[in-house]
Symmetry: C2
Subunit: 385 residues, 2 copies
Amino acid sequence: MAAEKQQLESIESVLKKLPDADAQVFQEIYYGKNVRPMEISEDTIAHARMQNAEVKAYTFGAHPEQLRASRLVRVGIFQHQTPMATNVPIEQMRATMHKMAHDAITTAFYGHANIFCFQETWNMPFAFCTREKQPWCEYAESATDGPTIKYLQELAKQYNMVIISPILERDEMHCDTIWNTAVVIDNHGDILGKHRKNHIPRVGDFNESTYYYEGNTGHPVFETEFGRIAINICYGRHHPLNWLMFGINGAEIVFNPSATTDGLSEPLWGIEARNAAIANSYFTCAINRVGTEHFQNEFTSANGQPAHKDFGHFYGSSYIAAPNGSRTPGLSRVSNGLLIAEMDLNMCRQVKDVWGFQMTQRLDMYAKSLTDACAPDYERQIIRK
Amino acid sequence: MAAEKQQLESIESVLKKLPDADAQVFQEIYYGKNVRPMEISEDTIAHARMQNAEVKAYTFGAHPEQLRASRLVRVGIFQHQTPMATNVPIEQMRATMHKMAHDAITTAFYGHANIFCFQETWNMPFAFCTREKQPWCEYAESATDGPTIKYLQELAKQYNMVIISPILERDEMHCDTIWNTAVVIDNHGDILGKHRKNHIPRVGDFNESTYYYEGNTGHPVFETEFGRIAINICYGRHHPLNWLMFGINGAEIVFNPSATTDGLSEPLWGIEARNAAIANSYFTCAINRVGTEHFQNEFTSANGQPAHKDFGHFYGSSYIAAPNGSRTPGLSRVSNGLLIAEMDLNMCRQVKDVWGFQMTQRLDMYAKSLTDACAPDYERQIIRK
């Protein structure tokens, strides 16, 4: 295997080289003023260290109100490398992943997280670059009683935590079809429901349309004891309409479990989930995979380059953005990490009242425009001399 | 008048303090790899200097194709302070503005610009903070034969340049109503058409809904000799559906002439127009006013603070973003400036082919979802236990 490129630790590690006053100015303009580092317990830090994971914590402020108490919630998002060679037996990989999940969720519990979310198809290699159906399709499991979901149900109940588990789903009730699905387990360990990825990429090594189809679950928002949440899986973050519908359905936090690589999307990563938070007045949590995965058999990337065995670098950099446009710094580009953010969900409505994007959105006009635009004989509004 | 806060020159002036290698790494991740500084003539620089304006120039690359020649176009966007006290007589202000426009457009001509765009309501103070109707409504002029449009028609013809002029419009044919309008003048000096601002803010000092209503011109795309262009005026940049419709109608470059202040929107500024470029596979040009405008009569800002006479700081920072997610650095936060970018419009379709956002957007599903969501009895898709 060729030596891999030395990877940058994080964009924030570069900015640390600025003089303090300049870093502060940059921070206020780039990240916004309403996000502050938050202290977390020694337990949390020690537990993360045992897993070779970093842990960072931030808090977003909101204003006190007269009629509503603060609605503080803590979210934990976890990014990780595939911990073993991609070709180990599935049961071995799964057991290792479950152990890692246990450790990560326990760390989040020490950090008082109420809602926890993994990256996309978190319990398997991101093998869709290979276009091989096996053994990868064997990783697919039931969204109601598969081994991963059952394992997490126990943890959710034990830790009183809502857990979002993005997996490869096997739908045995509908002809054994495969889906890219996020399962929501509530803090009593019950399955609240699931959402299937709405938009499937056909770009670079992301040959996912070979494996599963566009989701058929609409834009569900899950009402939990800690707030109304939704999941926009990976490539769906490029689609403003997908984000919009979760907002229309009442989401206060939208998770974006992803797997995306540096050559493809890195300059876009800080933009899209954050724009969605702004446009829809909710919190967004963007989670990306970490590391470079190698596969046993070579494959091509449809880019004129020779066949090879690695997917390129998943650059992590998970972050959380608020309705007012502020965001946390990102996690590392190279290592496992847990990002905890405390947020007052009251900020969502407060920002709606200030900015008024919902009041001014002219939804009826666009419903008509989009309907017109779908017609096969649609004539675009083009002005010519 | 109280001493004004010392303003930061630009976010890029902070980043210049990084060691070169770090600045390069940051640049590639933050701005993207596909934008490079471009040489411009001494004439251009000298002419800009005479106006106390900076000039910056960049080029975006695209791939050669077999069947289409490159479609290189140069865009010039100009940001400026109101050059006189806000309460000078209107004719005096207008004459000074026209002189400044002449100089700016001449500079852009030296820089070989094909399309030129000003900031929002560029030829008057941004007086909508005052809620006074006069003298400000007197600045409104006809979009077909007002003095500013006539003045620019001559320049457009002389310089073979498409000019976009965002003005306060008086529509005498429809009961003297006032609109916030961008007029497109083609490179022969003919008026190609106009677009009226689709979304009107009610936030902070932006009391614009006191003066004019939501636009009734749809989402026109103007077919010019240099490419298909559209205009999303100011607050419309917060609305992804507004950007989307310009894309559906075929825009290759969308201008966002704006006026927005640092206390309100600065962390959002780099996000929204750039996200629109990504989501819709077109170029976007975000132009903001510069400086702090003072008014004769005091006004309140509905924020619990005492009455005052200034609008706060318009922070400039104009920039151009490409369909592949790369962007130019911004212009200054404090001074007049001209940003020239050379772009190959072939990049738009190239990015569509690579990323496939249009193919995968499921427009029919959203047309139906938005139509449903407009119903008074719409039931949101909320999953409860």
